[in-house]
């Protein structure tokens, strides 16, 4: 039955038929008004209830997720702070071992120096030689007035000479004594300098130690706040984690681009080794081989940085004894160097193949091949790139570690945000359905406004015949539901 058939069911005139249909529908709707209102109201209430329940469940989930995220962030922060404190304690230990460990010997050195200085001081205290005892008597005689007697004069002159001689000797002896004292003092100079230098070293060590201890104090304060699950610290750690995530992503993207360049360098010459036609799961074997070499280089880089204790991705490497770790460093570095050399040679081979292919193309096109100047520059460039890139890729372990650690925080935050958005959408949808139910009820009444108006008129007419108290006024139906 088509729509036209339906339209002409009651009359050939479509307008009249449509009118009859409309009357029938309106009558049916008027008769089923109460049930329809209940249906709309129940439906809206149930849907709203379901959505509110969903929102409540999601709120609980979000709360649990936030709590868990905070725990993870604090745990990460605690771990980091512990590592920082441990590292600083190690530094302090090193300072103590290096500088203060030698304190007894320094003390002995200082004591020896002081003793030596004291000894020198004692030596420098020696009094200068005094003039001879008879010198005063001779001086008195020499001052006696000369009375012109030649013998007496001669004697007095001799006495004066003797006095002067004695004086000169005394002066000489005094000077010698002073020089000896000066020499003793000169000997004291290196001791003073040594003492000063030793004390300066001690001062520097103590200052270092003081600075380290201040840093440790700060770290300990943070650590205590983390242990107390302080919200501010959690927020700071989250922010730091997000920053780490974006930086690590950027560096990883750069590393991947480097990997792609590396791949392009070695994929073509690889087909010389494994063939250019064979395939594994739809991928060229040469491409897979090139990719495997790059991945092995990255893996070696990760192991190298792990063994050097720069990154902490593998617990088994961290717990290895130092001797074994040193061996691992040597082995991974050796493998990395061999792979870099292989890559450099492959890059050179790529250049040769490209040259060969270019010559063939020119020959096929009938163009004369000429010697290109400075052709060696790109050849060397490719070889250097082939050698350097594996080592550069080895450092990818550092951003990779940051990325892995920070991604847990970021994933947690993103999940929380999604759940929060879902809560909002659920509540909004619930409210919308509730309001839509109301609108639908009014729309229903609007369609059947004619019989409703007639009903109202009849009721009014009846009411005019009754007392006020006998009149029953129908209350507008309220929709139930949970109060928002």
């Amino acid at each position: 039955m088509t729509f036209t058939d339906l339209l002409t069911t009651w009359s050939e005139n479509p307008g009249l038929s449509m009118f009859i249909w409309a009357m029938l529908i309106i009558t049916a709707m008027y008769l089923g008004r109460s049930s329809a209102h209940h249906l709309i109201s129940s439906l809206a209430r149930s849907l709203r209830g379901v959505l509110r329940m969903t929102a409540t469940s999601l709120t609980e989930l979000e709360s649990r997720m936030s709590k868990r995220n905070k725990q993870v962030i604090l745990q990460e922060g605690r771990h980091e702070t512990e590592r920082a404190i441990e590292r600083d304690f190690q530094r302090v230990n090193k300072i103590v071992e290096r500088d203060l460990g030698a304190f007894p010997s320094i003390q002995r050195k200082v004591t020896d120096t002081i003793n030596s200085i004291e000894q020198d001081y004692q030596n420098s205290n020696e009094t200068p030689p005094s003039p001879p005892q008879w010198l005063e008597a001779v001086e008195t005689i020499s001052k006696i007035q000369r009375n012109g007697d030649s013998t007496v004069d001669q004697i007095l002159a001799n006495i004066q000479d003797s006095i002067e001689k004695a004086h000169d000797e005394t002066i000489k002896a005094y000077r010698k004594s002073s020089l000896d004292k000066l020499n003793v003092l000169k000997k004291m100079l290196p001791s003073w300098r040594s003492l000063s230098s030793t004390l300066s070293e001690m001062d520097k060590s103590v200052t270092d130690l003081s600075e380290r201890s201040e840093f440790i104090d700060k770290q300990m304060q943070v650590y205590e706040k983390i242990r107390a699950e302080d919200d501010m610290v959690a927020r700071a750690l989250t922010s730091s984690s997000m920053t780490q995530f974006f930086i690590a992503t950027l560096i990883l993207a750069i590393a991947i681009m480097g990997g792609v360049i590396n791949f392009q360098l070695i994929a073509l010459p690889m087909s010389e080794m494994v063939g250019g036609t064979s395939a594994i799961a739809g991928w060229r074997t040469a491409d897979i081989a090139a990719m495997v070499i790059i991945m092995v280089e990255v893996a070696m880089g990760v192991f190298l940085l792990e063994a050097l204790q720069i990154t902490h991705l593998f617990e088994i490497i961290q717990t290895m004894d130092d001797k074994m770790r040193k061996r691992m460093v040597v082995v991974t570095l050796l493998i990395l160097t061999i792979l870099a050399t292989v890559e450099a040679s492959l890059a050179y081979m790529r250049d040769l193949l490209a040259l060969d292919r270019e010559a063939l193309s020119q020959s096929l096109a009938g163009v004369a091949t000429g010697n290109v100047e400075f052709r060696w520059i790109p050849s060397i460039g490719q070889m250097v790139m082939g050698f350097i890139l594996p080592f550069a890729l080895a450092f990818v372990a550092i951003p990779l570690e940051s990325f892995i650690h920070s991604s847990r925080t970021v994933v947690g935050l993103v999940s929380s945000s999604i759940v929060r958005a879902l809560i909002y959408v659920s509540r909004l949808a619930g409210q919308f359905i509730w309001q839509a139910g109301k609108v639908l009820t009014h729309a229903y009444d609007m369609i059947i406004f004619l019989p409703l108006s007639v009903e109202q008129l009849v009721k009014n007419a009846r009411r005019d015949g009754y007392k006020e108290s006998d009149i029953y006024v129908e209350q507008p139906e309220e929709m139930g539901g949970v109060k928002s």
């Binding site: 087909s271 491409d287 991945m295 193949l353 193309s361 096929l364």
Partner: protein, 216 residues
Amino acid sequence: MKFGKQLILAILGLGLVACGDQAPKTRAVYMLIDTSGTYTQELDKAQRITNYLLGTLNAGDTLALARIDSGSFSEKDMIGKVTFDIRPSTATAQKYQFKRKLDEFVAKARPSGHTDISGGVLQASEFLQETQAEEKIILVFSDLEEDLVKGHVRKFTIPLVGIKVVALNVTKLRTDNIDPRDYLERLDNWEKRVYEGGGAWKVVNDLDRLERLLNS
């Protein structure tokens, strides 16, 4: 956490693999060169096409070159055939060698008395089926006017299942200018024969667009 690390490493690995190309299909191309009558004057064009093929085909692909003469269903008419080595350097050496053979053939080519295109196509079909390449193509460099030696039987369906036949440089004959229907009929007949044999048919007359030769 460990699973996360493995997942990230796997993603990085896949990212690098994705940089590579999917393994290309192996191709086998058999080119038939008409040497009858005045068509020998067109040989330089055939040489150009072969050079293009040498430059385009990769390691693992097969190329064969044969002349169409009075009786083409014979290995003797084969000028050269090669399956390029899986190593690019060896493949390049093979291409040089093949080019030399082609140059020699072009220099020494003499016009044949008759034109046995069907025999050549049948020979090509047999050869290509043996290569087991994923893509098989017969290039017919001819005006498609068949002129058989009396007694030669060629009116049968040529098996061409899975083979694409490309007619190249189908020149118009003097009579075609008088009645172009002859030319169209010639093309229609060959198209019908190819489809009957289970192959695909294509005509490329514009030799400036050689990339269309191998593209489906």
